[in-house]
């Protein structure tokens, strides 16, 4: 049954997330200004801090796990993009492992923090152009990897990395496989931490592979995927993206909500009433603008919840996932820019976090598939076109 009301328990969980997020926000400016200092694995408060709101008893009225997971992501990013009371275990590579790994691989590496390395200096939105190569040495039963990976999220902090490499450059997408490489493997090096517009406290690395040898069984999904050449190796890795696109949208929306909340406080302090029932023409310009931004936020958030709800129902959500990211990617840019429009000098001052939120959320429309790539996916679905028919 269609419903948009959080249960009591849902509310309590999210209130706890918010409290913790607010604590993290105290450190947000420091790690933004000191780009190459990582936030600690645990904040000093970690041992003593407890949420004032206790979780309630679970009930049938509670929202599904994927929905709550998206709302949780929004809540944490509402505090700060990078700072956590205790840093999350696991990265994108862990999602790839659980989606495509063999049961044995899942047991073996499930406890590691795994980053995901896809982008290269010469390929971003079109991962089928991956140049990093993997060649099997039949004598030693080892893969030999060579190449360079950039924009690797959690690249420094992780204990291992899932790397996309091609086993056959002539095979295009079909030749691409994922390999699990642990830190410390000879020939595998983390060389550089990127300097960025925003999400500066985030760990974004460049990785280099020079004749890096790994055992044959570190091919994600097992060896048999190599033998079935041209049959869905690429699709296996793309599967990872189905919940990550809404998650990335949720991250951006968490930041956008922080900007909206800050702007609302300032408007109210200045004596503006935010009246949703009044006609636009009779509202003061800053309020009319604010309501427009709020509508944009709400629309975007609902696309995310819808994609997550579908996942909870075990229904396909590929197109819906792209909708979330395409929508939120544009929305969060407009929202944070619009909040600065409303607040003027206060919006760009580094005394406040609004200018940081503008920089932080700008990544939403870029990584995990740019807004344009999402539109390409949506248009293909809508028009029933193949990749060849709509490039």
């Amino acid at each position: 049954m269609i419903d948009f009301n959080l249960s009591e328990n849902d509310e309590k969980i999210l209130a706890g997330v918010r409290e913790e997020a607010l604590l993290c926000r105290k450190y947000a400016r420091h790690y933004d200004e000191n780009e190459h200092e990582f936030p600690p694995d645990e904040l000093p408060e970690a041992s003593s801090w407890k949420p004032s709101v206790k979780r309630g008893e679970p009930s049938p009225e509670d929202s599904s796990m994927p929905v709550m997971s998206m709302l949780g992501i929004m809540g944490r990013h509402w505090g700060d993009y990078s700072v956590r009371l205790r840093q999350d275990r696991g990265g994108l590579g862990n999602a790839a492992l659980s989606a495509s790994g063999t049961p044995e691989q899942k047991t073996r590496w499930g406890g590691e923090v795994l980053a995901m390395a896809i982008t290269e200096p010469g390929c971003g939105s079109d991962p089928s152009r991956v140049q990093t190569s993997a060649v099997l040495d039949e004598e030693t039963d080892e893969w030999i990897l060579n190449g360079e990976k950039i924009f690797v999220t959690t690249g420094c902090r992780s204990t291992g990395v899932v790397v996309w490499a091609t086993v056959d450059k002539t095979a295009g997408r079909a030749g691409i496989k994922s390999f699990l490489i642990m830190k410390g493997t000879p020939g595998f090096e983390v060389v550089h931490k990127e300097k960025k517009l925003g999400i500066r406290a985030d760990d974004t690395a460049t990785l280099v592979l020079r004749d890096c040898r790994i055992p044959r069984d570190q091919l994600l999904g097992g060896d048999e995927t190599v033998k079935q050449k041209g049959s869905g190796g690429f699709r296996g890795v793309m599967k990872t993206f189905n919940m990550t696109r809404p998650a990335v949208a949720a991250m951006g929306l968490g930041i956008a909500e922080a900007a909206l909340d800050f702007t609302r406080e300032q408007l109210e302090e200045a004596g503006f009433e935010i009246d949703y029932a009044a006609a636009t023409a009779s509202l003061p310009a800053p309020v009319a603008k604010f309501i427009e931004l709020e509508a944009l936020f709400e629309a975007s958030k609902l696309t995310v919840l819808r994609a997550a709800w579908l996942a909870g129902e075990a229904r396909p959500n590929n197109m819906e996932s792209s909708v979330t990211k395409a929508h939120a990617g544009t929305a969060v840019r407009r929202i944070t820019q619009g909040c600065i429009d409303i607040l003027g000098p206060m919006g760009i001052s580094r005394e406040h976090l609004l200018e940081k939120w503008l920089r932080d959320c700008r990544i939403t429309d870029i990584y995990e598939g740019t807004g344009q790539i999402q539109r390409l996916i949506i248009a293909r679905g809508l028009l029933d076109y193949t990749r060849a028919e709509l490039k």
Binding site: M1, I2, D3, F4, N5, L6, S7, D10, E61, D62, S63, S64, V67, D275, Y276, A277, A278, A279, T280, A281, S282, I291, E292, E294, A295, L296, E298, A299, S300, L302, T303, L305, R306, W309, L310, E313, E320, V323, A326, H327, Q372, Q374, R375, L376, I378, A379, L382, L383, Y385, E389, L390
Partner: protein, 364 residues
């Protein structure tokens, strides 16, 4: 619980309404628009769907089915997918009946509702909008002054739907610092009903101006009696319903543009294979989805009797902006053909522009 899951019944209703809209509404949309009129037998056909009478309790002669604003939002999206003007005309009776149901006293229900439970089309209407620039539904200029037990109503209302056929008008007016609604019979002294208004869009929907020159009504005319009526809530319902209509209209544009763009060739390939066109279509799809979920959210709050003002306000303003954008770009996808009245896209564009300024012409 956050859930987008429709019930089996809602899916059955959706399919039935989709079929009806495709067979009965869409084929007549152009003719009704050009002639600025809806044939009686079409209104009768919509009446026979039972949208109004089935949701009136048995005590007042209705079908006694539970009214679900969410289901009604789904119904409106589907009907408006056929045509927005015909969809709105078809539910004008509910506009009045639902207001009486939600806020009326038992005596008012007894007096007014049985007329909506017959076999023949019957309607009354709601008078919210006022002429001139800067109209604000939450601050009407029409005023009710107390006189004896009753009231004297003065003011002007415009865009009153189906004013030519309505037996009564529910007139929204300022009353003692607040806002109330008053039931005014068609033949009330001092009430004059103007000629059909000529508007940019929704031409098939008859609307007129009402002049209220010191119209005297008794105390029983005040909807809700002593308690009055929550006009804000009434408008929340209307805004959510408008958002549902805009969603249906937008989907109609998108679904018309997709096959057109796949069929129309330029530079040796379908224009749909150009990103400039494909991305426009993708954005249309994204926004149709977004406005539907905003509509459902507001409708669900109404259904669960929660405060819906914010959700309804955001749904309406967002849907208004995006439906206009979609219809506007629908014309662009068709190019010169979009400008020609042989295709429905220019009609949808005019409808979208008109819907954006309407209040209180449709409800859940």
């Amino acid at each position: 619980m956050i859930s987008f899951g429709t019930t089996e019944e809602q899916e059955v209703v959706r399919e039935a309404m989709r079929d009806f809209a495709a067979q009965a509404l869409r084929p007549l949309a152009r003719k009704c628009d050009e002639g600025s009129a809806i044939p009686d037998d079409l209104l009768q056909q919509i009446w026979e769907l039972g949208l109004t009478s089935t949701q009136i309790p048995e005590a007042y002669g209705g079908g006694g089915e539970e009214r679900s604003p969410v289901t009604n939002a789904i119904v409106l999206e589907e009907l408006a997918h056929g045509d927005a003007a015909l969809a709105i005309a078809g539910v004008v009776p509910s506009l009045f009946a639902n207001a009486v149901l939600d806020f009326g006293t038992d005596a008012q229900k007894q007096a007014l509702l049985p007329a909506f439970c017959g076999e023949r089309f019957h309607t009354a209407s709601l008078a919210v909008v006022e002429p001139g620039a800067f109209f604000d539904a939450s601050r009407p200029r029409t005023v009710a002054e107390p006189k004896g037990d009753g009231f004297v109503l003065s003011g002007t209302k415009t865009l009153v739907p189906l004013a030519d056929r309505a037996s009564h008008f529910l007139v929204v007016a300022r009353n003692n610092g607040g806002v109330d609604a008053f039931v005014v019979p068609r033949d009330a002294q001092g009430l004059s009903i103007g000629e059909a208004e000529k508007n940019l869009g929704l031409r098939a929907l008859h609307t007129a101006t009402l002049e209220l020159e010191r119209v005297e009504v008794g105390p029983e005319a005040r909807l809700g009696g002593e308690a009055g009526c929550d006009v804000r809530r009434l408008l929340d319902g209307s805004r959510t319903a408008l958002a549902a209509v805009m969603t249906g209209l937008s989907r109609a544009v998108l679904e018309y543009c997709v096959p057109y763009a796949k069929d129309r060739e330029a530079f040796d390939e379908p224009i749909a294979r150009k990103q400039a066109i494909a991305f426009m279509l993708a954005d249309m799809h994204i926004e149709v989805e977004a406005m539907r979920w905003l509509t459902w959210q507001a409708a669900s709050h109404l259904e669960k009797c929660r405060d819906a003002s914010r959700a309804a306000g955001l749904a309406r303003s967002y849907a208004a902006e995006k439906s206009l954008w979609i219809a506007d770009n629908g014309i662009q996808v068709l190019g010169g053909h979009g400008y020609i009245r042989e295709h429905p896209v220019e009609l949808w564009f005019r409808s979208a522009r008109t819907l954006g300024v309407l209040e209180g012409t449709v409800t859940l």
